[in-house]
């Protein structure tokens, strides 16, 4: 388990590093789109087939899902005593699942 913990720890730091940049890009993009007065249809027109944006949001969603799940795992262990392999696998599943919700949303904008 200790090897696994090193990997979880490293994954949370690496995702944090990426999220720092990704959140900034995301917010700036939203502000530019809103202040530029783009309509929903115009935004969709720009996201359809935009592979770079699709890949960016896939990475963003997966990083956010994993980062949050690893953090919640720690809080649950400390406050609720939820420890052990079963809980670890459940948190990994929750992280991937929430990440995949984001990927699904990005896919919707990509192919819409």
């Amino acid at each position: 388990m200790s090897r696994g913990a090193v990997h979880l720890w490293a994954a949370q730091r690496v995702t944090a590093l990426f999220l720092g940049v990704a959140v900034a890009v995301h917010l700036v993009t939203i502000i530019i789109a809103v202040r530029g007065g783009l309509s929903a249809a115009e935004i969709l027109g720009r996201t359809q087939g935009a592979t770079a944006w699709f890949l960016f949001y896939c990475a963003f969603a997966l990083a956010a899902g994993l980062h949050a799940a690893i953090g919640l795992r720690t809080i649950a262990a400390e406050w609720l005593g939820w420890r052990g392999r079963g809980f670890d696998l459940a948190w990994l599943g929750i992280g991937l699942l929430t990440g995949l919700f984001g990927v699904r949303a990005a896919w919707g904008l990509y192919v819409a």
């Binding site: 388990m1 200790s2 913990a5 979880l8 730091r13």
Partner: protein, 250 residues
């Protein structure tokens, strides 16, 4: 003509009990110009309550055995003047160290604390003489080398348990090794004469080890020796990260 002033009194609340539980008892002792918290405890035991259990040895900040919780904060009672922690008229409140089993009153059982030093592989393991033989030559350790300076930073720990009692993670996870054990491990990881780096890093990794530390630094804040266990734990995380990434972990 000088008038005789009645001595002021100091009110002290002392936790009395054992592993099964307990409660505070109140005592009043003469307030003196110069008195340490340990002086107060000793005065209560000698003059008022002979059954009060507490622990001390050197009385001068060398042994670390008189640590207790003074007004909510773990401290060496021998090096804590009453006037530093309680203004005139304020009550002094004494409890046994947190995060450790209570034997009786102010004396805690330090065994779990030292067992964790052993679990963190806090013993020096000579690289050149694993079987206990004397090495052929002296090891040359340049005082200015990075490893030596890292080891120096943590080597003065006397194992008083103040950091351990101040650590939230120990309170949340009874298996957590705690700041002192990992500070010790970090000094040995930086000891170039030591041959157990891999096994030691393995011992301090994971949820019971350095990866659970939130770096809130209560240990560093409260260490009576002004050591920085929080940085030592961060060093262990760094070493484990790079050793794992570069495939150096056997």
């Amino acid at each position: 003509m000088e008038t005789l002033k009645a001595p002021e009194t100091l009110k002290v609340r002392v936790w009395r009990g054992d592993a099964a539980g307990g409660e505070f008892a109140e005592y009043a002792v003469p307030a003196r110009e110069n008195q340490t918290v340990l002086d107060v405890v000793t005065e209560i035991q000698r003059e008022i309550e002979p059954t009060l259990a507490y622990r001390f040895a050197c009385r001068v900040g060398m042994c670390g055995s008189c640590a207790m919780e003074v007004n909510g904060r773990a401290r060496w009672t021998c090096r804590t003047h009453v006037r530093r922690v309680a203004r005139p008229g304020e009550v002094l409140e004494l409890r046994p160290l947190a995060n450790l089993p209570v034997i009786r009153d102010l004396a805690t059982d330090m065994a779990p604390f030292f067992d964790k030093w052993a679990r963190a592989r806090g013993q020096f393991q000579p690289k050149d003489a694993g079987d206990g033989a004397v090495p052929d030559d002296f090891a040359v350790v340049p005082p200015e080398s990075k490893a030596r300076r890292e080891a120096d930073a943590g080597i003065e720990c006397i194992g008083c348990g103040v950091c351990y009692a101040s650590c939230d993670i120990v309170a949340w996870n009874p298996d957590y090794l705690g700041p002192a054990a990992m500070n010790r491990a970090w000094t040995l990881v930086n000891d170039v004469r030591d041959g157990a780096r891999g096994a030691r890093l393995e011992a301090v990794s994971g949820d019971a080890g350095c990866h659970s530390c939130h770096s809130t630094q209560s240990c560093t804040q409260h260490c009576p020796k002004n050591l920085d266990p929080s940085s030592a734990i961060a060093g262990l995380k760094r070493s484990l990260f790079w050793d794992s990434l570069l495939g150096r972990r056997g």
